[in-house]
């Protein structure tokens, strides 16, 4: 086998005498070009697949265009999403390969340029923030007055508690630019510990309860068939997956940014649990941003996510978005018992019956459904809004998500399966 990247260099590479190749060098060259086109279009096509393709085309023959299409399809496509890309590239390429190359050449520098610019932009933004430390803080002028008023009261607090501790309890919405930046740094350090799940797979463990007959008998062989010790096994553990559904509509603006910083930290922390973290944003439509969250740089990740989700700070259609999630994604991301974190204020103007139905479906497919509602920070919060009334009966836990302290408390909800948060209190108000 040739090392990866060999086919990338030049087509002649493949025509080395050691490889079992067809006599028709033109076919090999064309297939290699086609594979390159697919690779540029984003399909994971390596040199191994090119060799398989050549083999497959030889086997299937050239009689019909349709057969040729499905032959290459079976080799190069490995996910349903890739079918459309393959179809387009196939159509363009086998009409006029040069035209395709030309198009690619035209498109690629532009694409690459944008990416580099984006990377530079997020780095530059942070550099600017670092340089303009003081200047940036004055950004929202009306906040300055509030700060003066608050300052008198807060002086006492600052004697007893560190700045960080004060920040922990502070509402995200009331933070100044400085404080928000500091809070984001604290969020980046935050983790969301979770308990592992027992699986049905067994592993060797001297303290286990189930006997391991195989190892017992192998041990007995050494003592001439006398069983001296009983080898034991116990269930192995695995980590659950986390699915985050974050409301990014106008009413949630200041919270969703912070919460996404938190989600990014959770998604990128190594060795804390969570097999996988999937994140979706919704406002008027549902967007999957899981891929962007894996970018290490938090600014770049959220920027990319922002580009993808076009409905920042718009209206909310919670019911319709949950419907999309249930139909298109729930079977794929909730399959192995995932914990769902739903972050929204529940202010939805659509049909409450639809919302209640979708919430019920979501709860039925999730291991646990945790609702973070920043509105809970108000002492007088009552489930009066129709959206809140529709959603409340279908969540396992309801908690506030308005400050760092409240996000930290989330770990508590995760570690205790019976935790209900504020749900019982609000349900009593709902029924009373």
């Amino acid at each position: 086998m040739k090392p990866p990247g060999a086919a990338k260099s030049e087509t002649q590479d493949l025509a080395e005498p050691t490889l079992p190749l067809p006599d028709d060098p033109k076919l090999t060259a064309n297939l290699t070009h086609f594979a390159r086109a697919l690779r540029k279009a984003g399909l994971p096509v390596g040199p191994g697949r090119v060799l398989t393709a050549i083999e497959a085309v030889q086997a299937a023959g050239f009689t019909r265009r349709e057969d040729f299409y499905w032959t290459l399809h079976s080799v190069f496509v490995s996910r349903p999403e890739e079918r459309q890309v393959f179809h387009q590239v196939f159509r363009l390429f086998w009409r006029d390969p040069r035209y395709m190359e030309h198009m690619m050449a035209l498109l690629l520098p532009a694409v690459r340029g944008v990416q580099e610019e984006e990377r530079a932009a997020s780095a530059a933004k942070r550099a600017a923030e670092a340089l303009l430390d003081g200047a940036e803080a004055s950004a929202p002028p009306q906040r300055e007055e509030e700060r003066d008023e608050d300052a008198l009261i807060e002086i006492d607090a600052s004697f007893t508690a560190s700045v960080e501790e004060k920040l922990r309890a502070l509402d995200f919405e009331q933070m100044t630019a400085d404080e928000a930046a500091q809070a984001r740094r604290m969020l980046a350090r935050l983790s969301l510990p979770v308990k592992p799940l027992k699986t049905r797979r067994l592993r060797a463990d001297p303290l286990g309860l189930r006997p391991d007959w195989r190892r017992t008998l192998r041990g007995a062989m050494r003592t001439g068939g006398e069983v001296l010790t009983l080898a034991r096994r116990k269930p192995a553990t695995r980590w659950p997956a986390l699915v985050v559904l974050c409301d990014i509509s106008g009413s949630m603006a200041s919270y969703s940014r912070m919460v996404l910083h938190f989600v990014h930290a959770v998604a990128n922390r190594q060795g804390q649990g969570w097999a996988r973290v999937h994140a979706f944003t919704f406002g008027t439509r549902l967007t999957n941003i899981s891929r962007h969250l894996r970018t290490r740089d938090v600014d770049a990740a959220l920027n990319a996510a922002g580009h993808e989700a076009r409905d920042w700070q718009g209206g909310t259609r919670i019911g319709a978005c949950l419907h999309d999630f249930n139909r298109d994604w729930s079977r794929r991301v909730l399959g192995q018992g995932a914990v769902v974190l739903l972050i929204t204020d529940g202010l939805d103007r659509d049909d409450p019956a639809l919302l209640a139905k979708e919430m019920e479906r979501l709860q039925l497919s999730a291991r646990r459904l945790i609702w973070l509602n920043p509105l809970l920070r108000w002492d007088g919060f009552a489930p009066r809004a129709q959206g809140v009334r529709a959603m409340l009966p279908h969540v396992d836990t309801l908690r506030a998500g308005h400050s760092i302290a409240s996000l930290e408390a989330l770990a508590e909800a995760l570690s205790d399966p019976r935790d209900r948060g504020e749900k019982a209190r609000l349900m009593a108000m709902l029924n009373g």
């Binding site: 086997a59 299937a60 057969d67 008998l217 991301v333």
Partner: protein
């Protein structure tokens, strides 16, 4: 007949049609390549689109044994490859004690072939009457990543290593078919070794053909009505859309009830055969089913 000798895609299509399995050109092409190149076939798609059936059809058509490995959470080597018969081993130890056999002979005997329980993967490596078997690894998405990694090795070289006995290598590789309902993504490394195909719902003409092959006793008019209705149903906003298996089940139900033509009442009574979620059934209760049926009938008249 060796499966590598199949001449063309048309031959595969005819072979499967002989087993009442009607498939499109695309699926026939992939199947042909899988047989010809000796590569595993990875079929992904919604439940009830005939992924498992094709393995049965291939096995029957070629006269091979079908070995099925149904995947589930926690599936491990002991239930997928082989296990030792511990109870028999214990008895053998006691017997050896009584007769005073030496430890060395005991060791050689105890971990020998007669105490080995072969599970599907190991069975598939053994030579079978009539040629290499068809190995169906069903619903691979239900297992976990460690098992996938294990499969990678087994499917790569078609061999299994048993520490006590040595390596068992398939003299001729089996025909391997993997299916997935996509409840999670299967790792690319495994997919890369296979030929991939997404099995879609068939169109009207093909589904009618399938239904007539599978339920030949149903009248042609009823089959067309059933298929037209189910096809309309798939266009609706349902949590779980009915597959071809449901269409066949439903047609059988209607036959058992001696139904000649579809009516809203009949649909309401038998909806449980095609829709399996309460939400979906509730949606279709009342005027909705009648609207779909009228749509379907109108389309049939114009066609």
């Amino acid at each position: 007949m060796s499966h590598r000798d199949i001449a063309s895609i048309d031959a595969v299509q005819a072979l499967l049609a002989g087993q009442n399995y009607i498939c499109g050109r695309s699926l026939a092409t992939v199947t042909f390549l899988a047989l010809k190149l000796g590569r595993p076939l990875f079929l992904e798609g919604e439940a009830g689109t005939g992924k498992t059936e094709i393995a049965k059809a291939i096995a029957a058509a070629l006269g091979r044994r079908l070995i099925r490995l149904q995947c589930y959470e926690g599936l491990d080597a002991a239930s997928a490859v082989y296990e030792w018969n511990f109870a028999a081993q214990m008895v053998a130890i006691r017997a050896a004690e009584a007769s005073g056999t030496g430890a060395e002979t005991l060791r050689a005997d105890l971990f020998g072939p007669e105490y080995l329980i072969e599970r599907p993967l190991l069975q598939a490596m053994r030579p079978q009457d009539g040629g290499p078997p068809v190995l169906l690894i069903d619903e691979i998405d239900r297992t976990d990543e460690p098992f996938e990694a294990f499969l990678l090795e087994a499917l790569g070289d078609f061999q299994v290593t048993i520490p006590e006995l040595g390596t068992v290598k398939a003299p001729e590789p089996p025909i391997v078919i993997l299916t997935s309902n996509r409840t999670r993504e299967v790792h690319d490394a495994l997919k890369r070794r296979c030929l991939y195909h997404w099995v879609d719902y068939p169109n009207f003409a093909r589904e009618t053909e399938i239904l007539q092959a599978r339920v030949p006793e149903a009248a042609a008019d009823l089959s067309r009505e059933v298929v037209a209705f189910v096809q309309r149903l798939r266009g609706e906003d349902l949590f779980k859309r009915p597959g071809v298996a449901e269409t066949i089940d439903w047609a059988k139900c209607l036959l058992a009830l001696d139904v000649i033509a579809l009516s809203p009442e009949v649909i309401a009574d038998t909806l449980g055969a095609i829709l399996k979620y309460q939400d979906d059934i509730a949606r279709l209760q009342g005027s909705e089913a009648k609207r779909l049926l009228d749509d379907a009938k109108k389309a049939l008249e114009t066609a």
